[in-house]
């Protein structure tokens, strides 16, 4: 097997279009990470968001590239004038205002994109902005769409229909894994490729894996399944009295989860440590990482744990998870929702220091296939392919 390498990268104009410019969340973080990466590779980057967000994310330094938001707040959602609403004057007014604002936004977008030289690339990181982009002539640009979630997750909500409506019109669009891309292809979309997320950085010192701590990092929201983690830990704790479970993260479900923890009688072995900005530090103090999510895309948390040489036990809830963790080689996977299986994986990892060390070391090496350099290379290959 051989992979091609772009012998020479050409500087391009790159436009990254996302839902928002500054929302606290995975895709925006990815957008800025890639923007910085593309810029260091010599490309001219412009980040465009549909709107500015209320919940701002902490941007460490001012970006070295232009960032534009088309709206100041979330634009109104179109609602068809049907039934009695057809005769409502305020509703008609709102609709007129919405259409006018949309036209202004489209003109603004057009003014940004029109001067772009041939060979420029437009990366649409989420499907929603396509509503505006479809109004513009994009024939001089190469348009790449993206979907930052697993097929199953899209399928369960409106984005499945949006993808099917908008993405047949782009030059190529990218799912997170080959497996997701294959499912989309079977759905009749023939311009699907895949692109993994990049691991931001590799901590210089891996975790020594000496503390008897199992660590979980993630929002305390239903999707992350911390309730299932507590139920699982209740099965593990009696056998591992000297081990602690450290739960990092904050969220709306916290009181409920703490109550559940108390009811299960786990207060002695579970510590709630809140949100952390020092993820490598948290990982350095733990020996096993556990993820009990109900749904995921291409989870960064798993990659970070592996980069710190901490072996993972996780629910196999998305193709992205199986792509990152090779079951039995650099981590252990359990069927989604099967608490007994996850407890078994945790018992194996906590009970066998040699396996833990071997898997942790392999994980640190293996996860580097998603390093920024590799992923950047894949992007350059993609640009080259689309130019052929």
């Amino acid at each position: 097997m051989y992979t091609t390498r772009a012998t020479r990268t050409r500087a391009r104009d790159l436009f990254l279009v996302a839902n928002t410019t500054d929302e606290l969340g995975g895709v925006t973080a990815w957008t800025h990470q890639m923007a910085r990466l593309f810029q260091t590779a010599g490309h001219r980057v412009h980040v465009i968001g549909v709107h500015e967000s209320d919940l701002k994310m902490a941007v460490p330094e001012t970006p070295g590239y232009p960032v534009t938001a088309l709206y100041e707040q979330h634009p109104p959602t179109p609602r068809p004038l049907r039934g009695t609403r057809r005769f409502s004057v305020p509703a008609r007014r709102r609709e007129t205002r919405r259409v006018a604002a949309m036209r202004r936004a489209v003109e603004r977008l057009d003014a940004l994109l029109r001067p772009a030289p041939p060979g420029s690339v437009l990366v649409v990181t989420q499907v929603w902005p396509m509503e505006w982009l479809r109004e513009i002539d994009l024939s001089h640009l190469t348009v790449i769409g993206m979907s930052h979630e697993s097929f199953a997750y899209s399928r369960a909500c409106h984005r499945y229909h949006w993808v099917k409506r908008h993405y047949p019109h782009v030059d190529r669009w990218l799912a997170l894994t080959q497996e997701d891309a294959d499912v989309w292809t079977a759905e009749g979309l023939n311009n699907v490729g895949f692109m993994p997320n990049a691991l931001a950085h590799l901590p210089t010192i891996p975790s020594p894996r000496t503390d008897k701590v199992v660590c979980s990092i993630g929002r305390l929201a239903d999707q992350k399944g911390v309730d299932m983690l507590l139920d699982t830990w209740a099965k593990v704790a009696p056998f591992r009295a000297d081990w602690q479970l450290h739960v990092y993260g904050a969220g709306a479900d916290e009181p409920q989860l703490r109550k559940q923890c108390a009811e299960l009688g786990l207060d002695g072995s579970v510590r709630w440590l809140g949100r952390t900005d020092d993820v490598p530090g948290a990982l350095a103090a733990s020996s096993v990482f556990v993820q009990s999510s109900r749904g995921e895309g291409f989870p960064l948390a798993l990659m970070e744990a592996m980069a710190s040489a901490v072996p993972c036990a996780a629910f196999d809830c998305a193709p992205g998870v199986r792509e990152i963790v090779r079951d039995g080689e650099d981590g252990l996977l359990a069927p989604p929702g099967d608490l007994d299986a996850l407890a078994d994986r945790l018992l194996r990892l906590t009970g066998n220091p040699r396996m833990r060390d071997a898997m942790g070391e392999r994980a640190r090496i293996n996860v580097q296939r998603f390093s920024q350099e590799r992923v950047l290379e894949m992007w350059e290959d993609l640009f080259a392919l689309l130019e052929r």
């Binding site: 080959q178 891309a181 023939n190 311009n191 239903d222 929702g337 052929r388």
Partner: protein, 923 residues
């Protein structure tokens, strides 16, 4: 930048091989699809004698992307004129080739169907191209070879392919050179992608394509060594080429099929190996053998049987306990015992009824026919009494029938011959609208026993249109139509239709056609359609739920009304039925409503019956004082404040249920909340033992005060039956035994497997081989088969009285009382049956896999009240030696019954009615 060599100029060359006489339009369409490729480095290379002027013009118009001559690209893809490339095809193939370094990259293709308007992919592609993968060993993707190569939709690395098949031939037409197969065999690495590559391939012509396919098959066999691949190739040839050819024989006239059969018999020599034949279904095997033997009429008849598998098409004969095709076809390939015709009673035998003559005589239609008689049914000592008549039924309405006598019916050497003279003009008096097509069927009686109505199988050349037309006299006068025209339908049966042939009728028909199709009429149709849609939308489930929530639920209570439902309305049985009966007996004047899913037959007459999800159902639920059911009323319907909900539940749990199920754990919060809300409606929940408390009540989070420890009312009958057994013995059997035709001396075995979640439109494949059971135990046992109430099973035909399908029987506890042995896997029925203290056998070939997948609450092997067997042989042995072995199981069985049915004391229904439905209970 370095100068690119010629080879690197193009990434993919699409070779369009044009044979002599290529249609210019088709060539242009193909080249256009290449020019429209998203990969701009794709060129079209036109080769062959048929390129002609069109090719030259195309090359001149697009000098950089179309050329006449050999391909130059890194990868080569072949395309026939008329076939089209999907827009992203070249890019997808090229990307996969670069990513994997494969020699050959293949993807999906579709071809036109027979009608020429639709496209479809052959079925074997689904598994082959399910996901992207790299194949280094052909055993992982045998379809690439067994279908004679990838066929289309694949590209190869040119530099490598030239070395395999010789320069320039890599892109040549696949069928002629067989190069696809050669390349697939030679490739070190093959990449498979799920993308669609080629579309609009020509529809296969099974009838005339067989010689070419046979040649290709011989070449392919010469190339292959691997025995598994050779077997696959042989079988694929039969299913892809020979069987479609056989089916096509049905449309051929007598002369042509004789000629073709003669010719194809020789072509097939050596291509029909016995082991490949063995993998086919019996009818298919017979059909292939007949074609290989060159028997034209035999193939024709077998083709009819393939379309109508229930029909007996030849005089079947018995030879040493086996059933053979006919007197002169008795070899092993002609063994059709599996079809089960020998087990059908006379009134279930569909016999082939072939029209031998159809003509007009003296203003009447004369139809003559011959009926096939199998197993020498008429060969007895005395001559059978034959009766026959001909029924004409209106197509698509079915209720109007005209019976015409059959003049002459007599046995012949090969079957039964009949002759009818039909005065079409006088006998059939149609209205003229809505009854234009009539289907005749023969009603045949042998010694007073009626056979099912037999269709009239006719060939086109037996029914000459002009020589059979007769005048018609519709009630709407001859302006509606004036001619009866016999014809052969698409399913090869004789039918008569009304036609306007003469001037006045044709004019009137044209006028009517205009009146129903001109613009205002079309508009009217649209308006009607729209109204219909609005009406349907108003009765959609969504609207019903909203009306229920906002209006119905607030209506005042109707005192004393109880709504019963069992298994979502599928049956009248289970605990709700037991409570219903107790309630009716105890409290006259209780207003009882039963809900049914589809069909109200079998439900009690004295109750009000409402269809599930109908408006009346919602009305009844909204006003009822009590809800009683065993599974759950629709989750979307909240319980009104004034209602008490008694959940009887439908069985103790072996597999994990409710929030213990993995399925519910992975659902998102709103979905789990919905379940919690549905379960929160239960006011009372019946349990049979502490096992239920720790499993079901825990899994559904039902608080202690809502549990009723009284046992299941449905099991009262079982407890009573056991008491009777001990008092009086098992015989005489309950009345149901006589109803099912079970004699006293046979052992009754009830087979009741559990729910496996089969898709709705499919039937369950039983794990027990019913036919084998009937062969082994047919004389001593009766097998009652009960599929789960959510599913339906299809049973093979077995000798009468050996296997009875009781899936439709409403009350399963009646069946339990009847059974002497229960065979089940891990259905909750085992907990109930244990109360009878009769033998149980667990037949669970997939116990470990099931327990691992669904999760279980206890180890069945350790606690079962009967043997747990995993193979059919073991089951047969256990059943044969049941009496001897049973003593050893009695203790375990009683412990099992005591543990899981602690509260089942025979008074559950009484206790429930006492607690809830009496004045004392405060209601």
């Amino acid at each position: 930048m370095t100068r690119r060599s010629a080879a690197e100029l193009f990434d993919v060359s699409v070779v369009v091989d044009c044979p002599e006489g290529t249609d210019p339009d088709r060539l242009r369409a193909t080249v256009r699809s290449v020019l429209d490729q998203t990969l701009s480095g794709a060129e079209a290379a036109l080769t062959g004698d048929g390129v002609g002027d069109t090719g030259a013009v195309l090359a001149a118009d697009h000098p950089h992307r179309v050329r006449v001559g050999a391909p130059r690209g890194t990868y080569v893809l072949s395309l026939a004129p008329g076939e089209l490339l999907e827009r992203n095809a070249c890019r997808n193939l090229f990307a996969a080739a670069r990513r994997t370094g494969a020699d050959l990259v293949a993807g999906r293709w579709t071809r036109l169907t027979g009608s020429g308007s639709k496209e479809r992919a052959p079925e074997w592609q689904a598994a082959l191209f399910a996901r992207s993968r790299i194949v280094t060993d052909l055993a992982e993707a045998p379809e690439l070879v067994t279908r004679g190569g990838p066929g289309a939709g694949y590209c190869v690395r040119r530099a490598w392919a030239d070395g395999v098949v010789g320069p320039g031939t890599a892109g040549a037409a696949d069928g002629a050179a067989g190069s696809g197969l050669l390349l697939a065999l030679a490739a070190r690495r093959i990449a498979l992608v799920p993308n669609l590559i080629t579309t609009r391939r020509a529809a296969p012509d099974p009838l005339h394509g067989l010689p070419a396919a046979a040649d290709a098959q011989r070449q392919a066999l010469a190339l292959l060594d691997d025995p598994a691949l050779r077997a696959g190739l042989a079988r694929a040839f039969l299913t892809d080429h020979v069987l479609p050819c056989v089916r096509a024989f049905l449309t051929l006239g007598r002369d042509r099929r004789a000629r073709l059969a003669d010719e194809y018999g020789t072509f097939l020599a050596g291509l029909v190996p016995d082991d490949a034949l063995g993998t086919l279904a019996p009818l298919e095997r017979v059909a292939v053998c007949l074609l290989a033997a060159g028997d034209a009429d035999g193939v024709h008849t077998a083709a009819y049987a393939l379309e109508h598998p229930d029909t007996v098409v030849t005089p079947l004969v018995r030879r040493d306990d086996r059933v053979r095709w006919s007197d002169d076809r008795v070899g092993d390939p002609y063994d059709v015992t599996e079809l089960g015709h020998q087990n059908r009673p006379l009134n279930g035998l569909r016999l082939l009824n072939r029209v031998t003559r159809c003509a007009r005589e003296d203003g009447r239609l004369v139809v003559e026919g011959a009926v096939v008689v199998p197993f020498g049914l008429l060969d007895g000592d005395r001559t059978a009494v034959l009766t026959a008549s001909l029924d004409f039924t209106v197509r698509d309405s079915g209720d109007r029938t005209v019976t015409v006598p059959v003049d002459d019916v007599r046995p012949t050497a090969t079957g039964i011959a009949w002759r009818a003279v039909v005065p079409l003009t006088g006998a059939l008096r149609p209205h003229g609208i809505g009854d234009r097509v009539w289907d005749p069927r023969l009603l045949l009686g042998i010694d007073g026993e009626r056979l099912p109505p037999l269709d009239l199988f006719a060939e086109k050349d037996i029914v000459p249109a002009e020589a059979t037309a007769l005048p018609a006299r519709p009630r709407l006068t001859r302006l509606a139509a004036d001619t009866w025209q016999p014809y052969v339908t698409a399913r090869h049966h004789l039918a008569v239709c009304l036609l306007p042939r003469r001037g006045p009728a044709r004019k009137v028909n044209a006028l009517v056609g205009y009146a129903t199709n001109f613009r205002p009429a079309r508009k009217l149709k649209q308006v009607r359609k729209k109204l219909r849609r609005t009406y349907e939308a108003l009765h959609a489930q969504r609207v019903k739920v909203r009306v229920y929530r906002r209006v119905l639920r607030r209506l005042p209570v109707s005192r004393g009304t109880v709504v019963f439902e069992s298994h979502m309305g599928k049956c009248y049985g289970d605990s709700p039925r037991a409570i219903h009966e107790e309630l009716i007996a105890r409290r006259r004047g209780a207003r009882v409503v039963w809900s049914y899913a589809q069909d109200p037959t079998g439900f009690p007459r004295d109750a009000t019956l409402v269809r599930r999800w109908s408006w009346r159902y919602l009305w009844a639920l909204a006003r009822a004082e009590w809800w009683v059911d065993n599974q759950g009323f629709p989750h979307a319907l909240d319980k009104p404040k004034h209602t008490t909900y008694l959940q009887t539940w439908h069985g103790s749990a072996y597999k994990r249920m409710g929030f213990d199920e993995v399925r519910h754990k992975t659902q998102n919060a709103p979905q789990r909340d919905r379940l919690a809300r549905a379960v929160g409606r239960f006011d009372h929940f019946l349990v049979r033992s502490e096992h239920d408390v720790t499993t079901l009540a825990h899994a559904y989070r039902i608080p202690e005060e809502r549990l009723m420890r009284v046992g299941y009312p449905r099991n009262d009958r079982l407890v009573a039956a056991r008491a009777r057994d001990e008092r009086e013995g098992r015989f005489p059997r309950p009345a149901l035994a006589a109803g099912l035709g079970i004699p006293d001396h046979r052992t009754v075995v009830l087979y009741a497997p559990t729910f496996r979640g089969t898709p709705k439109n499919r039937k369950v494949r039983l794990q027990l081989d019913v036919r084998e059971f009937a062969e082994r135990f047919g004389d001593t046992h009766v097998l009652l088969v009960r599929a789960h109430y959510m599913e339906a099973a299809s049973l093979p035909v077995t000798p009468p009285g050996t296997v009875v399908d009781v899936s439709a029987h409403h009350d399963v506890s009646e069946l339990l009382c009847l059974a002497d042995v229960l065979v089940t896997d891990y259905s909750s029925i085992m907990f109930d049956y244990a109360l009878l203290d009769r033998p149980i056998v667990h037949y669970a070939p997939d116990l470990d896999a099931y327990a691992a997948e669904r999760g279980s609450y206890f180890d069945l092997r350790a606690r079962a009240g009967g043997p747990v067997v995993e193979t059919q042989d073991e089951l047969h042995r256990t059943l044969a030696g049941l009496k001897e072995a049973d003593d050893g199981w009695q203790e375990a069985r009683r412990a099992f019954a005591a543990a899981f049915g602690t509260y089942d004391d025979g008074g559950a229904a009484r206790a429930v009615v006492d607690a809830l439905f009496t004045r004392k209970a405060g209601k």
